[in-house]
């Protein structure tokens, strides 16, 4: 009886309530992780995302006159919870923001049948750029492969010949996310004749990297590239300081440029670099609006609104808001559906003029997406830690498209083949 009662109760509850998350306005859920092992890096980003939407709701009354219901569903970075959140929200949502490579991998194959766009700004699976194969997935403005290419470009300083004979270490999380740049870096090592050494950091060893740094000290690499996340970054930076590795040869991906990680080493971290497709601009007009309408109005939980991650969160929500606005303009309806949202994300056109209108000049490079290009390949800046904050030290770097495109093509086709029958978006040329 007990089994039955519990099962019946469980079913009754979920049948009744599972579908009742009906939202007013446009429902754009975010699968957050404010709990769990990655919470410290997740919170500022998710605060930024939420606050930008709050700003639009407060200042402009939403987008096109419709409020945005930017609800959060907590995953704690667990794929199991992520799928639960996805299933719970997908009925009414116009978009899904999976927020972890693991959850993205899980949700990606379902999008063709569920017909709901995935927005994964700056993360996810690099071949998602090929819109012909991944009709429903978007990862603007740059992919991990772009990032790897730009970092190598920065190291070469414009002269790829100078890479010959160099030794570069990739310190990466031993996880789908950390393995993302390997195909590009391996291809580049072969083409430009530098030595690539992979040093993985297991999920369990994130906070104890003495073995890895001992190896780095022995290898004496010219550069260390870090593909890390969460607790791994803070430990790596602390270890680098401890082993006296020259910080100006140490470059991280955009997720390894969290202010709080460097604040703990402060001055000692001077020279550490992180490639980033967003730059904090605390005196931008949008930030002033944000201050009056959201921060000072007590509608935010943000702790450090000047940090790179918080402002990156703002930029991410801007992509979504622009997509919604584009879809509304194209279809002439205020309450768009997922199909129209997809069109909007596919026709993002973030120009310098548009950024100026939004009051976000310089926060993100201009880019546009299209049917066949779901990333936009905007390029990025190199940021450097000056002991107190991150500041850009390079011009806009661009990824080596000649390198990336064939790889994107091959990998995305391999994905489609492995998941046959996989519908292609034949409307792209």
């Amino acid at each position: 009886m007990k089994t039955f009662n519990k099962l019946a109760l469980a079913t009754a509850l979920s049948v009744g309530f599972g579908a009742c998350a009906i939202a007013e306005g446009i429902y754009a859920p975010n699968l957050t992780y404010r709990t769990g092992p990655f919470a410290s890096t997740g919170i500022p980003l998710m605060d930024g995302q939420k606050d930008y939407m709050t700003l639009l709701n407060e200042r402009d009354g939403g987008i096109g006159g419709v409020q945005i219901n930017f609800e959060e569903c907590e995953t704690g970075y667990s794929t199991e919870k992520g799928v639960e959140c996805y299933e719970r929200t997908k009925a009414d949502a116009v978009v899904t923001q999976p927020w972890s490579t693991g959850i993205t991998l899980q949700v990606l194959p379902k999008t063709n049948t569920d017909m709901i766009p995935i927005l994964a700004p700056g993360y996810g699976f690099s071949p998602m750029a090929n819109g012909k194969v991944f009709k429903w997935a978007f990862n603007p403005p740059v992919s991990y492969w772009d990032g790897a290419s730009m970092i190598v470009d920065f190291i070469a300083d414009g002269d790829k010949g100078s890479l010959k004979g160099k030794k570069i270490v990739l310190l990466h999380l031993d996880h789908p996310f950390g393995k993302e740049p390997i195909p590009v870096l391996e291809a580049m090592a072969e083409a430009y004749d530098f030595e690539l050494k992979l040093i993985p950091v297991g999920l369990k060893e994130m906070q104890n990297q003495s073995a890895q740094w001992l190896q780095i000290r022995r290898e004496r690499p010219d550069n260390v590239i870090m593909w890390g996340w969460g607790a791994m970054n803070a430990s790596a930076i602390a270890e680098a300081v401890k082993t006296k590795y020259p910080m100006d040869q140490f470059i991280g991906v955009w997720w390894a440029g969290h202010d709080a990680d460097l604040k703990q080493v402060g001055e000692a971290g001077t020279g550490y670099k992180s490639i980033s497709w967003s730059v904090p601009q605390s005196d931008a007009p949008m930030m002033a609006d944000l201050k009056t309408h959201v921060l000072d109005a007590g509608k935010s939980t943000a702790e450090d609104p000047d940090s790179v991650f918080y402002q990156r969160g703002l930029v991410m929500s801007m992509f979504l808001a622009e997509g919604i606005a584009a879809a509304q303009a194209e279809f002439g309806v205020a309450e768009i559906n997922p199909e129209q949202m997809r069109w909007g994300l596919e026709n993002l056109n973030i120009t310098d003029e548009r950024l100026a209108e939004l009051g976000m000049t310089g926060m993100v490079p201009p880019f546009s997406t299209s049917c066949s290009n779901h990333t936009g390949h905007s390029g990025a800046w190199m940021l450097e830690w000056d002991g107190e904050k991150f500041a850009p030290v390079s011009d806009l770097l661009m990824a080596d498209a000649a390198f990336i495109e064939p790889l994107e093509m091959a990998e995305s086709m391999a994905y489609a083949e492995a998941n046959a029958p996989w519908p292609m978006n034949e409307s792209c040329e």
Binding site: L9, A10, S14, R34, E72, L105, P109, P176, I182
Partner: protein
């Protein structure tokens, strides 16, 4: 009154030894089966299938496998997650190497591989017991997860290091992969879980089960009455790992759709162990009760605030959820240390003699 057993006479040994000698028990089981086979599939939403029904069944099966080893044969194991991984990877390799293979056969065969690995790691149990054996199985856990990460042949040299379930069809109907519908997958899981549960009930009641229980209760005494300890322990490892392996294959192929190596890491082993302990060691039904508490209840709790119209931050709900489930686990273990199955047994006993307790 409801559970009155008066008047239910048994006239043969066969009837006396039946699985459910009391009429009300078979009646209850009938209701549960009708619910599982007819009512739930007809009424459940996609969300319910994906987050409650299918996972509860799969976790119950994994706990059942562990329970045979730990609850019935008394061999503590901390490697369940890794053995599930062996099943999942074996199934993945079979499906990708032999695409013509029937998915259900592949899933059932994948258990054979984990049974083999389980027996290999069970060999230390012949010499060591208790916590020491737990350490040996912990070694299996770490070694196997390391292997899933490093041996790229296992995931077909995929750049991301994860395995992804392709679209598999059976007689024109998709049963796994993104194209498969939840209801098909649910029925397949239900068929396999029911079948293995039936086998497990009969195994544990039979000769083999008695051998296991004797080994668990006192191995020296068991040896003295002529039980071959090696055979008893290794069969327990084999049967247990087989079931765990099948549950691992179901876990990835019928539910998750994709898996990375660290999915099979120690938290999964602990989760299954908790289900088995809270459900009740040495019981079959306990695994289902435990899975409902640990897998199903958090999902239901998560929907409560929204359903009541209370607006709370999602992160706060998650924190509350962890606290509630944690206190429930402690509560149940205090009122009945032998698990939920024993709790039900006591309730049933009381119901039978009600309203005249002695």
């Amino acid at each position: 009154m409801l559970y009155r057993t008066a008047g239910q006479f048994k006239t043969s040994y066969r009837a006396d030894q039946a699985l459910f000698p009391i009429k009300q028990d078979s009646f209850l089981l009938g209701i549960i089966l009708i619910c599982a086979w007819v009512v739930f599939p007809l009424t459940a939403s996609e969300f319910t299938f994906q987050t409650i029904l299918t996972p509860i069944l799969i976790y119950s099966l994994a706990a059942l496998g562990l329970n045979i080893l730990t609850g019935f044969a008394g061999q503590l194991s901390l490697g369940t997650g890794a053995f599930m991984g062996v099943g999942a990877y074996a199934c993945y390799k079979m499906i990708t190497l032999m695409p013509w293979m029937n998915p259900v056969i592949a899933i059932l065969l994948s258990g054979v591989f984990s049974a083999g690995v389980g027996v290999a790691f069970g060999i230390p149990s012949l010499r060591i017991k208790g916590f020491y054996l737990a350490i040996a199985t912990l070694a299996a856990q770490f070694f196997l997860v390391w292997l899933f990460e490093k041996w790229s042949w296992l995931y077909n040299d995929n750049a991301s290091g994860a395995i992804q379930v392709p679209n598999l069809d059976m007689f024109g109907l998709y049963v796994a992969g993104p194209q498969a519908s939840s209801i098909t997958q649910y029925y397949l899981v239900l068929i396999i879980v029911s079948l293995l549960t039936y086998v497990a009930i009969n195994l544990t009641r039979g000769n083999l089960g008695r051998t296991w229980k004797a080994t668990r209760d006192m191995d020296i005494a068991a040896e003295l009455i002529g039980i071959n300890l090696m055979k008893s322990k290794l069969t327990a490892f084999a049967v247990s790992s087989y079931i765990v392996g099948v549950s691992g294959a179901l876990f990835v192929f019928m539910w998750r759709g994709a898996a990375e190596p660290n999915l099979f890491d120690i938290p999964l082993s602990f989760r299954v162990l908790f289900i088995a302990i809270i459900g009740g060691l040495g019981s079959i039904m306990g695994n289902y009760l435990g899975a409902i508490l640990i897998v199903g209840l958090p999902v239901v709790l998560n929907t409560v605030p929204a359903a009541l119209g209370i607006h709370i931050e999602s992160a706060l709900v998650e924190h509350l959820n962890i606290m509630i489930i944690g206190s429930l686990i402690i509560f149940f273990l205090i009122i009945e240390p032998h698990g939920l199955a024993q709790l039900w047994r006591l309730i049933r006993e009381k119901l039978i003699i009600w309203p005249f307790p002695h």
